[in-house]
Symmetry: C2
Subunit: 157 residues, 2 copies
């Protein structure tokens, strides 16, 4: 069970590690589809309202930006790791608007790690996420913890 896969476990992550999360170009259709379902404010839905907004033009919901980072992090890290979920994030900052056709990239910087005292076999990674656009502007940052199975734990995940 524990050796027949190539998953990264808690022990395989190192403090100081900086993990790139690839690239994602966001389309106008994605911006408006997310906004229609989750954040139907005019500046996320139509150009005229957006032009008069603080953003200046149609921009993605901040929750969409965070969700896109999650997808990039899953594809780059978690799909090959013994991930057990996450309890939350801190200091989620939307620093710049994200516009249709922006190409986003990012990285996850592991700042700390420890084994859970209350849940045997569960490790906790603490890190900082950063997302940038094609002009190297940081559009979003947050910090947060993630649970990761320890290599020799009895957890079946």
């Amino acid at each position: 069970m524990k050796t027949e896969n190539n998953l990264r476990y808690y022990e395989d992550f190192e403090i100081g590690e900086i993990i790139p999360v690839g690239y994602k170009t966001i389309t106008r259709e994605e911006v408006t589809r997310f906004a229609e379902e989750f954040d139907p404010q005019p500046f996320h839905l139509n150009d005229e309202a957006a032009a008069k907004s603080l953003f200046g033009k149609l921009s993605a919901s901040g929750w969409h930006t965070a969700s896109m980072f999650m997808r990039m992090y899953v594809d780059s890290v978690l799909k090959n790791a013994a991930s057990l979920g996450a309890p939350g994030v801190e200091q989620l900052k939307w620093l710049k608007p994200v516009f249709p056709d922006d190409t986003l990239t990012g990285r996850y910087h592991i700042l700390d790690k420890r084994v859970s005292q209350s849940r045997p076999g569960v490790g906790i990674l603490y890190g900082k996420a950063e997302m940038m656009n094609q002009d190297k502007e940081i559009v979003m940052t947050f910090e947060g913890s993630g649970f990761m199975r320890c290599r020799d734990s009895e957890l079946s995940v």
Copy 2:
């Protein structure tokens, strides 16, 4: 312009106000559709993997839960307010898993407000969001700021 609508402006929100955000029943299809696009971890996608996870059964991505709160907040508050977006949130906590067929509700508690020093005509509301399930368990909380146009500002939003 400023009197022909029923929008709530910065001045119309009061510190201490607690705003209910309605109800939302989440379906299995919504859980897996969001997860496929943004958080394709096995415990958000299939029952077998979820049964072996810390969550015990198929659960929604935390980003999905946050996005659903946003939709409820838009429908209850922002669609009738002079909202100008938000710079971020703090202490986003996923306290309990959200499962298919859960009926979620929530409230937004306005904790503080002030007029922006750097952006004339922009007010800042600071509040705490809470989301509960049908068993009155708090599943998610976060705090955060939102920008709201002041009633007599020259902003066209």
